[in-house]
Symmetry: C2
Subunit: 384 residues, 2 copies
Amino acid sequence: MPILIPVILSGGSGTRLWPLSRQRRPKQFLPLVSERTMLQETYLRTTELRDLVRQPIVVCNEDHRFLVGEQMREVGARARIVLEPAGRNTAPAIGVAAWLAIEPGHTASEAAGGEAEEGTASRGASEADDADKDPLLLVLPADHFIKDTRAFLQAVRIGMEAATKGYLVTFGIVPNRPETGYGYVRKGAPGEEKAAWYRLEEFVEKPDLQRAERYVKSGEYLWNSGMFLFSARRYLEELGRHAPDIAAACERAAHEAVVDGDFTRLGRAFLTSPSDSIDYAVMEKTESAAVVPLDAGWSDIGSWLALHDILDKDAQGNVLRGEVIAEGCRDCYVSSSDRLVALVGVDGCVVVDTADAVLVMRREAAQDVKRVVEALKRTGSSRL
Amino acid sequence: MPILIPVILSGGSGTRLWPLSRQRRPKQFLPLVSERTMLQETYLRTTELRDLVRQPIVVCNEDHRFLVGEQMREVGARARIVLEPAGRNTAPAIGVAAWLAIEPGHTASEAAGGEAEEGTASRGASEADDADKDPLLLVLPADHFIKDTRAFLQAVRIGMEAATKGYLVTFGIVPNRPETGYGYVRKGAPGEEKAAWYRLEEFVEKPDLQRAERYVKSGEYLWNSGMFLFSARRYLEELGRHAPDIAAACERAAHEAVVDGDFTRLGRAFLTSPSDSIDYAVMEKTESAAVVPLDAGWSDIGSWLALHDILDKDAQGNVLRGEVIAEGCRDCYVSSSDRLVALVGVDGCVVVDTADAVLVMRREAAQDVKRVVEALKRTGSSRL
């Protein structure tokens, strides 16, 4: 029976949900959909896998260590919290996590001494030991929403079939619209007879609308979700093959990592890694890519519009949070912090009130929040 | 030479500019158009009449006495501040002011003793004494905006001609649109040959749009502004004739008023007065009504829309006050207090941010602020 270690990537620093998400509190740390934060929900979903799942690894920026620690503590998780001194994108973050999954208990002094190599791991141990020595990694961005947990868990179980056979699995979201803001993957033949996982034929960059419409119609294309499942050793093998610089930096970083109490601190070795995504560095190049379709009400909540879309609305299409009065309004998302927000005769708007800033925006302009954020950067505003 | 006493009516408690105007700070106490409050601007306009004008009388609710006192002090005014224990509409407020204008200097003890009757005032004194004994009252609501002070002063001078002849003058605003929210007055023949004031033929209630359009086209109709000019004694005469109950209550209230330091406090006698407007109680009934057309960029700033309309706008039609970022917005009025307000892709909206409440409203829905205010009343909210 394989075991599964959730690797939760919590390094994001998006400001597309400004003014609620800030540099100091990106959206994974916010309770956007439920009472729990996105990070907490991501973790809690994995606990449904019960005895398959082991202590999660959360990779985050050093600045967010207490946020992560506290949010994990709140939901009773004993996570291994890996601190990046600076982000290097997903390929190195997962590389370090893979090393740490294989060789857990490193401390500073041990790391300086022995270097463990993949090939030298004992093969004679029991099956349980083997599973522990090559756990599967379930890589999950901390800031994605999944509505249907059962469908997600089912997809994970399917992914495990492929991963135990050495495939590197990506989860491909079944598209419900011709989205031009995401990359797509094309699925090929089933991985084996009657399998619900597929060989991954091709990655494609964000398409134009016409192409996106064709993709959706074809039934062959799925959104590239950023969620993955593979054996730790297989990932490190493929990383070593296709991105040896990253692989080498990750190995050193993992071995030199200092475990102190709650935190596993990565040092300068990690910073020597090139910055690259797992898609570019590994998935697009490996011969062993597979894909599991996922149809579970997924959203990366990439904008206020996206958040409004996934939430339950009242009869007028409004989502009203906090102390809000809405008179003659439709299709609005309104969230108030500690003030009263009164909306009169407004349609299709997003209003977000926080302690030091208020955003008022047409739903359709949701991508333009970045223009405000850029303006704030130019002026060095504290409101970032 | 007649003398003029401004009677500034500051009893309004409108909430049409909620959330900026509140029960505790109605709009006359807000700096809506300039750095000065509406009350201050109203007073300062009268000082342009220089040697014609005497110490103003400000009538306000007891609750607002310190606001009035401080705002008058700020602009160097020594006003006589008359405190109503509760509002009785304009006819009694002006009635009391008229008595106080004729017989200043009352104190509690004097008031209890001698009763001064209009007819017994000495007629033999000098012209200056006569003027002091029957000053003209320039009655001005404290919350009206007038853009063109020169045109206003010119109208006042014309009104003085009529008032010194015993007429009760109302200022009629030359309409620039078929407004259905105001009452109208119809002007008749010039008061005398070549005079710029007219006999007032008729008061008409708020018309429907069709009728309003006809009124505007005719050139005979003017908006009923709520500004008046007449001799104090003539007003009291006409009040006594057409509303004897009010007149009697005003006389008693003025004589029993207690002057203490800055304030002239009206007592229970004032509360015995029926509540009525000067229009209904006097102006619509008197044979001596006259009207002076006023074309001076007047506005009663009866809504956020009205305020937006009179203010200078940027090239996109926006008025942005305080810390505001507007990206791709047109025809918006935005005012921030101590927060950042960011507006993205929004057209034709009013956004007003205050310490405890934020209003977001379509310009066209400006009259519906009252629905919010009513909702707040129902819940006993502190945000009123």
